[in-house]
Amino acid sequence: MSAPATTSALEVRGLTKRFGGVVAVDGCSFRAPLGQVTGLIGPNGAGKSTAIDLISGFKLPDSGTVLFKGMALQGLPPHRISRLGLMRTFQSPREWPGLTVLENVVMARWDSGRESFVGGLLGLRGAQRNTAADELSRAREILDEFGLLALRNERAGNLSGGQKRLLEFARIRMAAPELVILDEPMGGVNPVLGERMALAIEAFIAAGTSVIVVEHNLPFIKRVTEHVIVMAQGAVIAEGSFDSLRSNQDVVDAYLGEMVT
């Protein structure tokens, strides 16, 4: 390993994925610093979502490496990557609609011992109860932070779109990964809720969770990120602070030029 893994939360090298004749991700390489918020922006079709799927194991890369805590992640299944402490959200919120809001938060934390079948059957190691007391109080705390406590016994499927986004954040708070990749968290979210999400991202950093956020909402990117990576046509074309990128002609041509900001 040549890379100093201590300073990067994530390092991606030469990641490539083809779908038939289309090269969705084409030798994509970048590093996301530890303990910071990294923005990942780019026009539609730039390969951002595919890159997330490749990093989180939901798709297999054709080539390239993904380094997390000095470990190579490529080829591992999603649950293994998640257990190592790299989690992700999805473009459209993926709550468990038939479970309650509280159950959604509690189940964000995977627990190998308590989830075993034999344990559940025989009531070993507290596995009989699906919710342990300390876990419950932690979940309640988190729901309170996000203003969802009053809705904790509601079916998650009954929440509004914005509330589902908040629930997604609450689940990440519960799981407390070392790195989270947020895939367009501002999709369909109003400005007031957006401010709440910005605060939540700051809370992730304070709790030791590094963040990568994919977003088309540039004011939000400017608000929350320290470092921005710009992708176009499957590769990284520029990176730096948001303000430095505004003066980069490649970035303006590929992406920012389309924006009114």
């Binding site: 989180s56 939901f58 299944p77 999603p78 649950h79 998640s82 257990r83 989690m87 992700r88 959200t89 999805f90 993926r94 709550e95 468990w96 609609p97 038939g98 479970l99 309650t100 509280l102 159950e103 189940m107 964000a108 934390r109 995977w110 627990d111 308590r114 989830e115 075993s116 079948f117 344990g119 559940g120 059957l121 009531g123 596995a127 009989q128 109860r129 699906n130 919710t131 419950l136 309640r140 705390e141 309170d144 932070e145 996000f146 203003g147 969802l148 406590l149 009053a150 904790r152 016994n153 929440l159 914005g162 509330q163 799981a175 007031v192 809720l193 709440r196 605060l199 939540a200 809370a203």
Partner: protein, 339 residues
């Protein structure tokens, strides 16, 4: 009348065990498994070949094993065999396939099992099937024919209650909740660390074990088993029981068994006989059987349209503890949070 009541209650208890097994696979894990009756059949066939002794030449019969093991031991082996078969089917069907594609593969699997059991005579005596398991354990316990019926009713009920208690534990366990996350959204389940394939496979084999156990009891109840006991309607009745009672809710499933398995099934017996045209003394015997299917189908359609969650919907964990007051708040609550 008493004998009749004893027989439908015995049948109901066995049927309840089968339905609770199906509820693990369809109710919790969320997979519409059409191979389920295959595991019941494996349980029944294996129990018979392990208890009825060697095949006789008159009338000609052929089957594997032909042992005379004690019934409880045979049941254990039969359940393990059903689990092994389900492990093979499940490890193929659950790896990548979901929804209708999973159902098609399991339909294929059960059809292969059905054809092999019906056509490959040396295995389970082909289409004639197996018979001769009379009152297992009756001689050891010194029971005559009449008292045996009560004994077997009691045995079936006790087994049902045991299975019910175990399933109640699974339902409220973390494992049970993890199975439900797969049903609700398995990509999210994987994103939060769940090995969806292994978890689903565990649920599948657990369900099949109950199916095999139900089949082993059923074989003793019928004292025989053959491909005609294995008609497609049987698995539909099981699905109907789970759907009508309440998918995912074990109380609901029990209620569904009482309604679909006992009430509907038995009440169609009392429909008026339809005489053959021009001869008022002979009746169409097949009409009753057909009417049963019609009634079950009608109930299914009505429930799917008007109450898809069933009579007793799945119960969710309700947190009744008063909200703790937490300070400082990282994110202030405002009216924005309400819909």
């Amino acid at each position: 009348m008493t004998a009749y009541l004893v027989s439908i209650l015995t049948e109901g208890a066995i049927f309840g065990i089968m339905a609770l097994g199906l509820n693990v696979i369809w109710g919790w894990s969320g997979d519409f498994d059409l191979a389920y009756y295959g595991y019941i059949a494996v349980g029944a066939y294996m129990t018979l070949v392990l208890t009825i002794g060697p095949a006789s030449a008159t009338p000609p019969a052929q089957y594997i094993l032909g042992l005379q093991l004690p019934y409880p031991l045979a049941v254990v082996i039969a359940v393990i065999t059903a689990m092994a078969v389900s492990l093979v089917v499940g490890s193929i069907a659950l790896r990548h396939l979901r929804g209708i594609y999973f159902s098609i593969v399991t339909l294929g699997a059960v059809y292969v099992m059905y054809v092999i059991a019906g056509q490959f005579v040396p295995l389970f005596n082909g289409y004639n099937g197996l018979s001769g398991l009379f009152d297992p354990m009756g001689d050891v316990l010194g029971l005559d024919y009449n008292s045996y019926q009560y004994f077997f009713l009691g045995l079936s009920l006790v087994m049902f209650v045991l299975v019910y208690i175990l399933m109640a534990r699974v339902s409220s366990s973390r494992f049970g909740l993890a199975l439900r996350t797969l049903r609700e959204d398995e990509r999210a389940a994987a994103a939060f660390g769940r090995d969806i394939y292994r978890l689903k496979l565990k649920g599948y084999v657990l369900g099949a074990a109950l199916g095999g156990f139900g089949g082993a009891l059923f074989a003793a109840y019928l004292s025989a088993f053959n491909p005609s006991a294995w008609a497609p309607i049987e698995v539909i009745v099981l699905y109907a029981a789970v759907l009508v009672g309440g998918r995912g809710n074990i109380r609901g499933v029990t209620l569904g068994v009482l309604i679909m398995g006992v009430l509907v099934q038995e009440s169609t017996r009392f429909l008026p006989q339809i005489p053959v045209l021009g001869d008022l003394n002979t009746h169409h015997p097949q009409v009753l059987l057909a009417m049963r299917g019609v009634v079950i189908g009608l109930v299914l359609v009505l429930f799917l349209r008007f109450r898809p969650q069933g009579l007793l919907p799945e119960r969710r964990f309700v947190d009744r503890q008063a909200a703790p007051d937490i300070t400082p708040r990282i994110i202030t609550t405002n009216s924005e949070a309400s819909p």
